[in-house]
Symmetry: D2
Subunit: 354 residues, 4 copies
């Protein structure tokens, strides 16, 4: 049996590099040799036992690599092609995908909530030397020669997610947009709001480094929630309320503030992962009469999404490199999780190389 090294989850707090069988490509699948990957906030939830996955799973869902094997039925690609694969891998052929809800992919059948997220969740993931890609025809996105692995690795999840926060609203030309939380996803949402033509982008956080990063990613104004009544200040500087509020953390406080910040007829675009009960204050919600909209979006995936995001990077519209603050070898992934989990040294995202 051919083996490979991979980051395997065993139990709450127990994970690390193990020697595991190297995957093989079935019908419609591909195997890629990973050349770069990263760690996501969701991975922290997994290793802390806050999000359940089965013991023995290889985790990670942000893969850049080179095609090592192509299964039957995959056409138009060749072994050796450099590819990016999105964190979400839609089949393209189920009721959800054929309705345009690719992230809620039912794998050929109907809908499955969050079903498009498979890597490091329901099948082995990307923090490994090799990765089996399901529905490869729909999910392998070729990387042009003039774009580096580091330039695209963050597109697989956080950039696709963050930018979708602006798209799902959608942000319109001339809008005032406030983005709650300036972690990696929030920073990409800030960039996304600007990319779509917002006239005013307000970034909110309580961390100086992240507020500074928000300004670099496109925020016109940053608000420190430790020092400012954010809702009042947003209302003041927007003349009554933002057109769109993007929530990028997943807490009651940020969700509620987002709702309070938007004008009547405004939209809360929610990206956060919530736990516990979420309250919708009826006053902020105008008792249900304010023509408000609340939209949630799971990271858009698939090869065409990745192609579009790569195009943005290639033409200089969007630069994810400043978010990649630290670099590790796969062998040192434990150290990478520690740094990332403790938010040490101003870390935003880490590059992990097998």
């Amino acid at each position: 049996m051919v083996t490979m090294r991979a980051n395997v989850f065993r139990d709450k707090g127990r994970f690390g590099i193990e020697e595991v069988p190297r995957p093989m490509a079935g019908v419609g699948e591909a195997v890629i040799r990973i050349t770069l990957t990263t760690i996501c906030g969701t991975d922290l939830h997994i290793v802390r036992g806050e999000y359940p996955v089965k013991s023995g799973l290889v985790i990670g869902h942000e893969p850049v690599g080179v095609i090592a094997e192509l299964g039957a039925g995959v056409e138009g690609f060749a072994v050796g092609d450099r590819v990016l694969v999105g964190a979400i891998t839609p089949c393209g052929q189920c009721a959800a995908c054929l309705s345009g809800h690719w992230a809620q992919c039912g794998h050929g059948g109907g809908y499955e909530a969050v079903g498009g997220w498979r890597f490091g969740n329901t099948i082995d993931g990307a923090q490994a030397e090799y990765l089996r890609v399901p529905h490869a025809q729909a999910n392998l996105a070729r990387i042009p020669d003039d774009v580096s692995d580091e330039q695209v690795v963050l597109l697989a999840d956080i950039a696709s997610t963050g930018i979708s926060g602006a798209e799902s609203a959608p942000v319109r030309i001339g809008d005032a947009v406030v983005v709650f939380a300036q972690g990696p996803i929030g920073l990409c949402a800030t960039a996304g709001a600007r990319l779509m033509g917002a006239a005013l982008v307000i970034g909110v956080d309580g961390d100086d480094a992240r507020l500074a990063a928000a300004q670099r990613m496109g925020a016109d104004v940053v608000l420190d929630h430790r020092a400012t009544d954010v809702v009042a200040e947003v209302k003041r500087c927007t003349g009554g309320g933002a057109d769109v509020a993007i929530e990028a953390l997943g807490t009651q406080q940020t969700f509620e503030s987002a709702l309070r910040c938007v004008r009547a007829g405004g939209t809360v675009s929610s990206l956060g992962v919530y736990s516990g009960k979420l309250a919708l204050p009826y006053d902020a919600f105008a008792a249900g009469l304010g023509d408000h909209r609340i939209v949630t979006t799971l990271c858009p995936g698939g090869k065409e999404r990745m192609r579009r995001l790569i195009a943005l990077v290639r033409s200089g519209r969007f630069d994810p490199l400043p978010l990649l603050t630290h670099r590790f070898a796969l062998a040192d992934i434990g150290e990478a999780y520690a740094l990332f989990g403790e938010r040490r040294d101003g870390v935003l995202k880490v590059a992990v190389t097998p």
Copy 2:
């Protein structure tokens, strides 16, 4: 001073017919002589002191009448024209109106939450012999001769609101739609879902008469929440979840059930008026990752909306007459409130004639 009779709110539980000054038309306004009006669930909240309005206000917001006076600047209408006026009277000229958020009208300025609702809320209303109509140019909708007052009076509020529940989703051809609560608004939402091409419309209530009415208004299936696990049954008969759930009551239970009934990527279209804290169960919400949308809609108004609804009635697409179950003279409005408030005799809506 010329006077008229009108239903005046004085205090919690105190209201009734009084002799008050007859209104006059200012610039851009009209006065109509009311020929038919009705009582809304919101009026019950007002007279019970649950929704605050100032003492001395004439209440009611569903007016059919004849133009009695036209203020300066109103063109294309004549004294004597029969007109319907929506419950919501947008100015058409503020930031909200010019952004397409007519119900959140700011009266020439910016946005004002629920600002489009003025009759019987912030200005004198329609349970009277005469009514002053603000922004008359935008709000007088001529009634064709072949359409009766009774056929159009329910378009002013409940039909416009109910149908908007389907439009805001929007319901698409072939959708499965569940409508929670089959009161007057829910019944119109049921009709609206069918009007827009839903393949399956499920009506939910706990009252036999209303379930029977739901079938007459277009529900394919009705579910009695007293006897059925509604969420389970909706999931069963839709093969996994409705595309759209319309909430037409305004309670935690119906809102939460609505959310639990929709598939991943589905939409909750909320029409209810909520009080207290509304909880969004994170499990029903797929932790924020289910690509769900929650949209709220306040009754669309304005003369063009009314014209479109009248056209539906005229061509037989939508028949609101079955909802008009009882008739009263304005002088007997106290009795009408009692019957309507106690839901006696299978009442759905009452016609009130000055």
Copy 3:
């Protein structure tokens, strides 16, 4: 070699039943035994040599059948399942499909104009005993037991196309819609406009039988273009112009009239197949300043589209049976083409049984 009988195109005017190899299912494919099919106007263009296909091709693209063989990688179906397959068979996995443009499917790669139409165009079609279905996972739609073959066979193309004319506009509640040409597709467009809540549906044709059929399919008004100045009459009865005009023939005259019928800001939804140069009269087009929209739609396909259309039939919202006016055995398909091509005996669509 196992063979089957099929309708093979040889040359302009030369086609008919031949014994040909029976297809086999490759990876991701299925073979179905056809139980019912029909003839489309496009097939007439093919046999007349007006639309080029290669000699030896089996024609026809509207298949109902039973699964006879499943290729590797197709899951959730079993041999013996009754299925409907759309005329358009998207792969679900190319750039076009992953952008929601399923009819312009590029088969795994990018976009290909009209690429979703393969049956009887670029691969063997449905006027045969057996049919190979590409991208089967995305294209086999199970038929419930309580729905007959005849009830669904017209959903594969004409109903999907016709209804899409209303959806692409989109028709909104209360709209006035005019549909040019009341052949099978126009009749379904008429039904579609009504299904989506148009308050006024006007059907236009020059054939008495088709005008009568239009009334049965949902037209409120029918106009005979031989006797009426259609544009003037539409403007009169809509008070200035239709909101939407659907073109379902593909001629300069119908296209131009459609454009002249819509109000400023209105939409022409075009379904016809044009040949030669199409002129856009600048006056009808308000010199480009009228906020007009012209949208074209190729028949939507895929299993989810078929499932939705079947749901409409099942709940009685849409009944295609009146369009199926004649029945033939596959052996007599020459006779069927003659009748259909000459529009004899009030034919609308013919059922063909292998």
Copy 4:
């Protein structure tokens, strides 16, 4: 009688400064003292007799000024306020406005094609010392103190029009967009495509100065149609066709090229003013089967549109100043027309000060 100086059209080729009555504000109107205006390509058509207006009309439709008088019923403004007024002045209260088609304003009644364009077309315009503004409540947009007249004057028409070319498509994040003609409107369309997140913006023209300007306004690539097969080159560098083509000239050639440049499922967003017959080549149009969309847009107006555009200028997202290449006094407007009409000295737009 109080008089003022204004540029009056008399007949083909005959126009110039005359002493005319100074306007007064009726109900719902305002009079502004013009502080800056400009000349539009449409004005050239008028003075050349190519677009008919009545003799004696004051022309021009791009006004910046100070409120001099307010008619009855206009609230929230004061004499002395600095304001921008859009070229299109919707009433906000007709069927068209209440349907969101503000540019096709019917002035209180129904729809009127191009009815929103009144200044210098159906009522006296802005090349004058004073201007009467109809429907003032909907059309006066206050200018913040930190924004100059020159920064906003081009927002009234060309920026609003050009940017709307991208909005109406709409351009989506990652799109490839080609803009035909890089005159003032095309340059704003180029900026608009970039503002909305296009990954690749291609500017096409045949004038070196305009191609250079296109690069400054945001084009990634410029193509000179004198030297390049534009359609082939666009297809090559987009990998098969642009997502959106914006037409900003109004000729058969640019319109046809735009259509040929887009991929299946793509959109032609047309801004040009056409004359004569416009042909829609059926091959470029995929015989009507390519899921193409053609949308036309007349300059969006109204105070909220102007407010949003001013916000873009204020935050530095969009800078129209480079388009203002020459400055004239109102007294010298004949000279300004000559320079502008002959496209001398690299003129793009001229500032005219009363």
